[in-house]
Symmetry: D4
Subunit: 253 residues, 8 copies
């Protein structure tokens, strides 16, 4: 049966090496939705060491289901360009472009990996590390351990920048709001406002920013923090927000 344990060794040794390399990274992206993955792709392409942490087993976030689980998404012109960079085929539909939501999600994931980002799935970020007024890392645990209600301590990983790509719940911003206070005008997570696609798309890009030293928002988390409208299954703003947060971080690091 030696081949069975050769498989075990191959998997564990590969993982072990990858985990130890990720104990200290340039950027930790929390949440593997379209904006987080896009941010990771641009950051990795620029040579940064980037890891993405996803609570679920499958990355992709809310993009797989399209709108109302009809697996189709919509983008505007700027979004179409970003989709095409990872090989997604878009079709014109009135003033918009539509794409298969499954194709788009799979290729955004593949694009981030191809650019050099590492994705850890089935891992929950349950806290951040902070010292001297700056976020300097994340605190992770197995999602399964939490699901089973097991009382187990997490582990810390160091990061020079952390991106909250958790969407509407803006989980990391909420942790920082409660424990440290955000450095936004109100200092609080305002919550997303009523649906308004155009306005939401425009603002998600504008709202993409550093909300506490070392902590950035992207995608719908940006709008949730700043109290801007939600968007529904139009994803161009989210992709552009991912690109913008990459730019903001590259200026700093």
């Amino acid at each position: 049966m030696s081949s069975d344990i050769d498989i075990t060794r191959a998997i564990f040794e590969s993982y072990s090496q990858r985990f130890l390399q990720s104990v200290s990274m340039d950027v930790a992206v929390v949440g593997a939705g379209p904006s987080g993955l896009t941010a990771a792709r641009y950051l990795a392409a620029a040579g940064k060491k980037v890891c993405v942490f996803e609570r679920k087993l499958s990355p992709g976030g809310g993009m797989w289901g399209g709108g109302m689980s009809f697996p189709v998404i919509v983008v505007q012109e700027a979004g179409r360009e970003i989709l095409e960079e990872v090989g997604v085929r878009c079709r014109q539909h009135g003033p918009y472009h539509v794409a298969d939501s499954i194709e788009a999600t799979a290729k955004i994931i593949a694009g981030a990996v191809d650019a050099g980002a590492t994705i850890f799935n089935a891992v929950t970020v349950e806290d951040v590390m902070a010292s001297q007024g700056k976020i300097c890392g994340i605190v992770v645990n197995w999602t399964g351990v939490l699901a089973a209600g097991m009382h187990v301590d997490p582990l810390s990983l160091e990061a020079r920048a952390v991106v909250d790509g958790t969407g509407h719940p803006s989980e990391i911003c909420r942790i920082v709001e409660r424990k440290l206070g955000l450095q936004t005008p109100t200092g609080r997570v305002e919550g997303e406002k009523c649906m308004w696609a155009d306005e939401g798309e425009r603002l998600t890009i504008e709202n993409t920013m550093e909300v506490y030293p070392g902590l950035y928002t992207t995608g719908m988390a940006s709008n949730a923090v700043m109290g801007s409208p939600r968007m529904g299954p139009i994803f161009g703003g989210m992709l552009q927000s991912g690109k913008k947060v990459a730019d903001l971080i590259l200026e700093k690091l």
Copy 2:
């Protein structure tokens, strides 16, 4: 707010067109795991109209989590070739090749879509259509409707061949076993046997077959029906089984 409903129209019209085109297809693959997606890729590449039906929101099946949620998979030589066809990067590790499980899963999904297969997610196949001793279609419902315990009738879709790619549960074969009887030596789903990677890999290819007129098994469902060993996170046999079932169907249709 007209842009918001333009998005709604774009999504629903695209879906509507896709759904109506899929009411009658050549091959229905049930379960979007690695073997089902690989079968779909080869069949679509050969010009067949193929749809894949996945119960969950995200395709990929049990491949995202690698082994024990360490996101790494292992393949042998033949499997490596199939992975490389969709652009997955493999690294030698002792007698095996290892790959990032997330990269592999995303690219197998993208590969099937690029070849022309249509994936329907969040849809459960709850029965098959049968008439005159042949499986001739599938019966589908929204996974969410079933999760909510709503009493709602399903809809039927016609297919000239149906592939059971649901893995260990071999759900479609169990339906046929109960309602019609399988045309295997024992007529029953035997259940997978103890783990034995090499033997399991060899047999999953051998066991890939037509188990009732119009119904084929692939991947771990093949071993579950025939009572062969399970394999763990080595995926070469599954990919080869997907290729084989495509060949078997192409001979028939």
Copy 3:
């Protein structure tokens, strides 16, 4: 098996046509209880394009169960007239009229449909659309998708007026309260007060009003917003409230 997929086609094409016609409507009624359905009946009879959105599979709201699940309801004179418009048989009982709660519910549903309203069931309204200080649509998703905890984006539908007929929870008003603020004296959902049938009946009609530009309340939602008494299984006030909200909207549109 062609007949099976003819059935599929007939159902999907009919639905598709109905859905696309409903992407933009005059009035969206949220909640298919007695007041919402009555409002829909009068509005449709007046030539407006009205759709009713019900979270559950079966419309009818809290009327099926009568009082304490004894399937009988009570109305006063004005309510009796509205019930008789849809063919419900009432019997005098002391100062009141009683009717079979099941007959009444079924006929109120049928009455709305006969008048031309479209009912969408198994659909949850999870948000509204707002722009420039006016509610201009609703945001919907499958109830099953939400029940299954699937992360899926909703779709938007345009409406010139929205009616909150969700009863005590006054769900739409609570969304607007949180995101925009209501334009009632306190700006808040006050919650229903203690049971007092006569007073509650009188006030539910008085409280039926526009609470934010484009958003109207009807039935028990009106009392919940304004902090008036609840009523129990006497339904005349609710039916009159449905009639009143129809009148209010017809004046505006």
Copy 4:
């Protein structure tokens, strides 16, 4: 506050009278789906004392949701006639007729009540009464009592005939199968077979029969007992089965 308790008295006295009148009846129909309600309508129209017992709060069974929760149903010619008897508007669609599933359900309920049937909702039939080789009544409890897991005895109601209209689960037949044995060729509930609309429609009428002295099946329960195909969202056969069971019973009583 006297009006509040006048309402209570009006409801309880009406119910009390109705309950005591129903302690002994001609026909007890279990399950308020389309076939059971149709049977109840014809039986009541023929002057029989008929009660329908529904476990849920809302009657209508699996008809509200159409196919896959697209609220549209399909019937053939014979079914169209039965629908039109209760005022449902049908539209031709290829070889079939389509109708709004919500309109159809509401009107089938209203039709049964108008004909004189009494519907008890929120009541579960948990057993039958049997003596001297004949089913002679049903044993009922509140659905809520059972849902709460309360240990409470049921009450008995006498009926000269009992109709199992519970659909696929064929609950009453399963009770009799276990406790007394059915008087069908195999004596067992065979379970429905794979979907085949035409064949299923034809057989559901043929399978409508007396399966034990005093116990009749209708609709999908007939096919489940006899091991015939299921049908999906085509309802003509079910409506005709409801009509047939009424005829069978009228011959006997």
Copy 5:
């Protein structure tokens, strides 16, 4: 089978008569714990029409389980006398008297019934009736209907006085606090304080009072409203509180 439905008739007619007699009563006691049942016993013995409403199937509240489910309770001298009035045997133990908690509970229930009180079990009081600044009745529903999540309206019953005997949750007081405001010094339910048996016993009697016109507290609900210590499995104070609330009400009615 006529005997079976004679049983049904006997039960329903007895209940029906009892229910209709209880539509209007002198005192409604909410919660069948030791203080509520004792209050009911003294009130009924004084000739008042008293009903006790218990959410669970079995009356008795928290007394069955003694302390830490060791079925023994403790009383002081004054409590012993009240227990002996209903025939409970007490044994001296140091400064206290102990009794079998099961004997005590059963006999307190029997004592209330023997004195003429009517107990309704499996019924939840979900609201009160109020008009002109006075509580004038209760609003009830089946506990099972609520457990099943069924949307069903409650019924109203008239009472000249209402006693909150629901213990720590002080459910009725919380409803009145939220909807009307209590007429205690703070106007709020303060919540019970830390355990201190002697102090708690003394105060529960002192705190027994009218907290809103027509609404009285008894037993642990009194301490919860006024923010006094809890007591644990010593029941003398609760019994004396039940006696006191009866006296207070008898003075008023």
Copy 6:
């Protein structure tokens, strides 16, 4: 605070003494329903050391809820006499006598305790002790420990006779059926048959017997073991069965 721990001491010492006295008893009755409690009353009155073990916190079994949670029960003449022995007031109703189900349950409990039986509540009997072909005790655990899913061993208590008074589930008989085989004609628990009050009442007395050396059935457990009809809310047969099992055991011990 010394009084608080005096209460603790009083309760624990009383319980401790009672528990140690019950480590070995004459008769263990499992299930505190009407038949088990009646058996316990007669056995204790005859001088036997009897303990009753009840899984729930409140004894009384299925009697509290009357029929369909209308709190009324029915008995025939023989049952009336047994009820009156414990002071329950019965009223004639046609051929039957009716009683308040709550009064009856409380007084049957009190009657057993007054006669000298000890009731342990919140305790589950999870097994029996057997040696040399005879049941010689029971194996108990806290119900709460089992509800919490804690892995904790039970304790054994010795009894010269064990009575299965668990009603329809006939839990103790099922344990013995599985582990040792019953000594009834079929050796199996047959399960109760359809409702037939008269026949069920007659047979429950006839079926009351020793089903394995040292193990007796009473009440509905007797009918469940022997495959006789169930009875509903008529309790005379159960009470007579309790009396009969006491007689059978007194002959043996």
Copy 7:
């Protein structure tokens, strides 16, 4: 079978004696994690009567799982010494010492017991006793009783000092905060701050203090009360905090 009940007697008598001895104690430690157990060890070694109360069946708290369920823990020099006192083997790893988390947990438990502390498991502390401005005991119940939702009163145990060793939830401090107010600068439980191992370790010792007369915190509960950083799987600070709280109490008692 006499041996079976000899086992029952042996267990119950041993427990009974231990329980009665623990009705009044010097120190009650709530929560059997590493800091609580260490405090208990030093206190018992100094001759105090100490009991530890653990909600779960197994003591050890969050130490069994190491970090992220990799069963390894880390300590600094001072922690190493405390671990070695109970025989745990540590290995140098960079600036730290690592130990097997399972070995460490088992030996910390054994160490406390060997020193003379009594551990009660499966027991929940649901309140404290307070009189005259001082915590003077705890109020306990079976965890299983609470898990089963049974309504059962707790029992009181007297203690001259109470230690809150419940970790992050700081359950005892939260009870006192709500009912009495803490005597810390803010009077409130602040909640733990972001992870920072060094700072957290230093502060947990500093924060170990008397927060209300008679109530002390230890370990992570100290940081949670004072709003200091959390630590993750480094346990030296917790062990030192346990030692410190023992010293503080020894000074007082």
Copy 8:
């Protein structure tokens, strides 16, 4: 913040080394109850490489709770000797010895670790490896992954012998029974019989054996496989069974 990630590195590197050393072992013990841990202690002391796999976070199995969660256990003379080998203090009680169940459990765990066994907690053994008629390893997964319902493949570990120490469920034997057939007289898991302490203790030692080449049972799993009586909270037989299985394996390896 470098110290935080030094802790992460220290933990992961220690674990990684331990995991890779355990990929191939002499003996895999499944279940960390008293018999499995005792077997592991003797085997490790004899120089074998032994790993114990425990599904829960805390080892110890059913011993922590003593009898009925009174934390005391009982042993006979032979058991006392084994307990004293690991330092547990026993006290004579009639014919038996009693010990604190918490002390005993902690010291049995510590004893196994001190002897050189490695314990993996929070890991579930979900299958075995088998080839050529011999069990040759185990197949493991994270318990948390399974609890979360994540679809993730397990990993294989090689072992020359496997011990089923899972107690009554005898999980490993049930897997082998289903997939390969046991090599016991009946080939099936018989299930434990009624409680009989002496007989159970004697037989658990006798039943400790090799049930399939490479698979041994110990403790209560032995009695469950062979259909012998269960024992309750007397642990001597289990400890002796652990010792015996170690001897049997040492003879073979």
